[in-house]
Symmetry: C2
Subunit: 295 residues, 2 copies
């Protein structure tokens, strides 16, 4: 089965605006773009996403996968994004079964979480089996945190975006920024579906990504943890903290959740047996400072 055909719609990621600062002086700064993208599946309107717009086709594909509206990328024939009309047209090969029913439950998730996670996602947790052998070395974790530090681009120029990244061991595979971090993780899911690893197991529509590591600047909410687990990723690293339901889900699915990861510091919240402490810093621990703002 061929992969879906995707357009490569592009649009500016930042916009220069004039502001007044505390001295009453005019300053020109950049802010991130934020666009509405209405998704149509077989000509039926499904949802409107607000996005930076860097990779809209992967975003839409990942959204459909992560919402479990499709079980496999093979169900999609094409995704056509047109920024002239802010629309993404998804053409499926055989339609989406019971789409009305499956999009009818509505859960409003935490803060930076996905707007509307259709309710059955939570029911699905207990069917997820993460690879037992998947893990991470502390030295790899430090390499990942450093790679991210060198990478952020829209954030550096305009702020106000979240970043997610996918690593294979310590090798960066994809770096995505978006105004919503749920978009960033959906975009990664879409990219993964279009770039199957040799170890891809399509029998259940999910990827067996035993060495994949997911990084996010945002908090580890239940939704981020569920989405990572759905993508077959057993180790998640965050610059921020974790919420209670994020922790509950991580423990339930056996996911190694690491947060507050900056420089050489981190906290492992769940499943530390997946983390090999091969690079313990020599300096004595000092009082930990919190990040300046939640995210």
């Amino acid at each position: 089965m061929p992969l879906p055909q995707l357009t490569q719609a592009r649009a500016p990621l930042t916009r220069a605006i004039e502001v007044i600062n505390e001295h009453g002086a005019r300053e020109t700064i950049s802010i991130p773009a934020e666009r509405d993208l209405t998704v149509y599946v077989d000509k039926r309107e499904l949802v409107t996403l607000m996005t930076l717009g860097a990779h809209p086709e992967w975003l839409v594909l990942g959204y459909l996968l992560n919402q479990r509206l499709i079980a496999s990328v093979n169900e999609v024939e094409s995704i056509t994004v047109d920024w002239e009309v802010n629309a993404a047209s998804v053409k499926t090969r055989q339609g989406i079964d019971r789409i009305e029913e499956r999009t009818s439950r509505r859960v409003v998730t935490t803060g930076c979480g996905q707007g509307s996670v259709f309710g059955h996602l939570m029911d699905e947790i207990d069917t997820i089996r993460l690879p037992a052998e998947a893990g991470l070395k502390q030295s790899e974790l430090y390499a990942i945190v450093n790679a991210i530090r060198l990478k952020e681009s829209t954030y550096k120029s305009a702020g106000s975006v979240h970043a997610c990244a996918l690593f294979h061991g310590e090798a960066l595979q994809l770096f995505v920024e978006d105004v919503g971090r749920h978009n960033a993780v959906d975009t990664i899911a879409g990219w993964m579906a279009m770039n199957p690893a040799p170890t891809l197991d399509r029998s259940n529509g999910s990827q067996s990504s035993s060495e994949k590591i997911f990084y996010t600047t945002g908090r580890l909410t239940s939704e981020m943890v569920i989405k990572s687990a759905q993508m077959g990723v057993a180790v998640v690293i965050s610059r921020s903290g974790i919420t209670q339901m994020g922790l509950d889900v991580a423990e339930r699915v056996g996911l190694c959740a690491i947060g507050r990861a900056t420089h050489q510091r981190f906290l492992c919240y769940a499943n530390p047996q997946r983390l090999e402490l091969d690079a313990i810093p020599s300096a004595a621990p000092v009082a930990r400072e919190r990040a300046a703002s939640p995210s």
Copy 2:
């Protein structure tokens, strides 16, 4: 018409957990609670909110108001929250008109934005008229930023929450933290409805809050700006930045949007005529540093 009867359901706001740090040592830290709260309106299930749980009744009331499912607090007879079953039962006086139809459109908003803003909110922007005289002095802005600095409580002990606050001039009226900042602003809307100002104008169901100032630690997304405007608040201050649609909406409704507000610094993104520069710092401006993480 009497105000609705609200329970005062309480539950712990933080939870102590054990983590492993970068030295391989165990540490006990606090994380914020995160609870699901399913809202039933006249026994019909409406939505599930994920919340810290500090003020669930105001949250539900504000949610109904901000989603425009009710036009006035007078439509509600009671809200009963029971954490034993994670349910909020809303009893209306006369039912909600066309509730099925009005909750059928779905927009997934940016990042920390409300999960599912029912679509007609965006259509409503042009009906909003903010009071022409409402404004803020720079000295008040500094007092507000300082008041917030002294206030954050769950954040200080557990991190990973957003804060919102309502000020009347520089006097703090309500400070709310939640795992989702959309919850924090909804909670403020609920409190405002239960504590009408003397200047309250009920003729159109909205408050005329000409001296009210809204503060948020989160980004100024379109949704935050719309909700503030709906509450009749003409000045919004954020510790973070602004998104493009947030700016567009602020300009369209005439709202004064101020961001990157820390210590004596800030940027006024829109409608600077509402801001009186009465306390310009004497020091020369230096290069501005961005916050450590988006939010």
